[in-house]
């Protein structure tokens, strides 16, 4: 077989293993068109420019590679002390028994599986819409695949200030589960909501979230991607921001054979602000670790601000990737864009590859970006030890200091404390 034939075969094989759910006419149309966006250009391979640093093979192959279910023992659950509305998915299937009633003041919550069968629903304007817009200038066939085949998801419309966070909990119970979830979040004018996500979800997880943030609205997002070592995940967040709106997303990733998180943000209204941050901790000793953050922020309005803050701590051969772009369109004057991607390599086996990009077509803007790869500062380590702080604890302090800029992006203090606890536990487990 020639190489030229191999790629369509991958796409064909993957699609053959799936069946398009049947719903209302409008959603069937959206699904059909999404599938066409998968067939052309076809699923990605390592040869795609956009996948140069991350091999998508295990994300595109027909069957999900098996992943052992991780037992966290009696570890306190994440967000345990936070009053939240829980929506639980087990291997991608909605678990009504484990979920709270889908009711909250100022918020409408539905399930995608039901919504797509309804003759009319507000979701028909959002489902697949931002994903489609996000295919340009770079195709994202795995996101189109999600739109075409997603089995379920949460469909959330926020009309006021949500009184508590909505918490999407993803449990993994079957070794070969292959979950495709698609969430829609529409925050109406002046509304505000915090979406929490946590858990491994499945052996392989393809997740898409489309987020429409209207004028003056606020979207906050904190995600923790689960303790399982063998899981694989591709996620896309597609967001569109209205005038004076806010988008803030933070992700903690520790463990996982392969994770690629994409954030595609279109700033469409003046005076809006988008912050995307991530902390990834990888330890190759517990299995391969490869983490890829791919971010594309488009400024298409004036007086807007965006920040990308991505930090990775890598050891024992763990691999990190960052691809980040700030695109400033003509007319997006007074843009304030910031991007930083940094890796702390705890040994020489680990590696970090970064591709930071700026593309600017407006003249009155302020954009900066930086990327660094470094080791623990030996002088700082010695200074701490000379004051009596044991080596392990001193190194942990320096790791937490390295991550601080990303953690600071979490606004809610309790959530910040929760994430810090997770980080400390990860570090403590690795202390010799």
């Amino acid at each position: 077989m020639t190489q030229a034939q191999a790629e369509p075969d991958i796409t064909r094989a993957r699609l053959a293993a799936l069946s398009r759910p049947d719903g209302a006419a409008w959603s069937n149309d959206i699904r059909r068109m999404a599938e066409a966006r998968v067939r052309t250009p076809g699923l990605p391979t390592r040869r795609d420019e956009y996948w140069k640093f991350t091999d998508p093979a295990s994300l595109t192959q027909a069957e999900a590679p098996a992943a052992a279910v991780f037992d966290a023992g009696d570890e306190a659950p994440l967000y345990g002390g936070i009053d939240r509305l829980k929506i639980v998915f087990v291997d991608g299937a909605f678990d009504a028994g484990a979920s709270d009633a889908l009711e909250m003041e100022g918020v409408e919550i539905d399930l995608l599986s039901e919504v797509l069968s309804k003759d009319t629903h507000w979701a028909c304007d959002l489902y697949g819409t931002l994903e489609t817009r996000g295919q340009d200038p770079v195709a994202r066939p795995l996101a189109a695949l999600n739109t075409a085949y997603a089995t379920n998801g949460a469909v959330i419309r926020v009309t006021g200030k949500a009184p508590k966070p909505i918490s999407l909990v993803y449990l993994h119970q079957a070794e070969t589960s292959d979950a495709i979830l698609h969430h829609l979040v529409k925050v109406e004018r002046g509304g505000g909501v915090t979406i929490l996500e946590n858990g491994p979800a499945a052996a392989r997880f393809n997740k898409c979230m489309e987020i429409d943030v209207a004028d003056g609205a606020a979207f906050h997002h904190v995600r923790v991607q689960g303790r399982d070592h063998e899981r694989r995940c591709i996620s896309h967040m597609f967001a569109r921001l209205g005038v004076a709106s806010t988008y803030k997303s933070f992700t903690l990733t520790a463990n996982g054979v392969l994770t690629r998180n994409e954030n595609i943000i279109e700033i469409a209204g003046d005076n809006a602000s988008a912050h995307v941050a991530g902390a990834a901790l990888g330890d190759g000793a517990s299995g391969p670790f490869h983490h890829d953050d791919t971010v594309f922020v488009t400024h298409d309005a004036a007086h807007c601000e965006s920040r990308q803050v991505f930090k990775k701590v890598l050891r024992n051969g763990a691999k990190g990737v960052f691809q980040g772009k700030i695109l400033v369109k003509p007319g997006a004057q007074k843009t304030d864009g910031y991007q930083i991607s940094q890796a702390l390599l705890l040994d020489e086996d680990s590696s970090f590859q970064a591709k930071p990009e700026l593309e600017i077509y407006a003249d009155d803007v302020q954009c900066s970006h930086g990327s660094t790869t470094g080791a623990i500062d030996e002088r700082a380590l010695f200074y701490l030890r000379s004051r009596g702080v044991p080596e392990g604890e001193a190194a942990d302090l320096l790791v937490l200091a390295f991550l601080a800029e990303a953690i600071d992006e979490i606004e809610d203090e309790r959530l910040q404390e929760d994430i810090l606890t997770r980080l400390r536990q990860w570090l403590e487990r690795r202390r010799t």
Partner: protein, 251 residues
Amino acid sequence: MLDIKNLHVSLEEEGKEILKGVDLTVEAGRVHAIMGPNGSGKSTLGYVLSGRDGYEVTEGSAHLEGADLLAMAPEERAAAGLFLAFQYPVEIPGVGNMTFLRTAVNAQRKVRGEEELSAAEFLKVIREKARMLKIDADMLKRPVNVGFSGGEKKRNEILQMAILEPRMCILDETDSGLDVDAMKLVAEGVNALRDAGRGFLVITHYQRLLDHIKPDVVHIMADGRIVKTSGPELALEVEQNGYGDILAEIA
């Protein structure tokens, strides 16, 4: 208290010998000063005693109250009571000064089998010591030494010393970069810690500091050795005549 015998130290990478047989004993309750030309090995001595990487001890020994310093990790030396005020204190972005100090104090207390200090207890201790050294609350909240002026860094070193209450204090040019008033504050900080159970080794280039911290013994280090040891008057002699005469005398 501190016993250094025939200490030979080379740079690990280049193999170059820096300390060429240092003999020095600091008794409890006494203040020893070390002076000496630039590059003679004074800071190296402090680093080697506190356990910094990059040096190889090829000969000799160093003991603190009988314990073999050279066999211990830096944090163990600190817990055993050794403290080095750095000539160039290190900036640590992202680590708050308070967090740092509290972690250090509690780590040492743990080793000694003492109860850890609660946040409130610690705050009380640090406030009092900081006031004495005229270190304002803002400096305590900032990351360790980041954006501190030269003098602030040195005062921060003394604050750490005051809080950790080590048995053997090595001060490496703590006076350099200090204005006259700050020098007095630092000297007061040091003098407040002087007692029968504590030893000091003060590395300095200037007599001025020794006006405030009166040494019992003054050593001259040159080319990796202690070449002359005498009373406080030796510092005055250096101040007036430089090292020329002393070095000529031993040559």
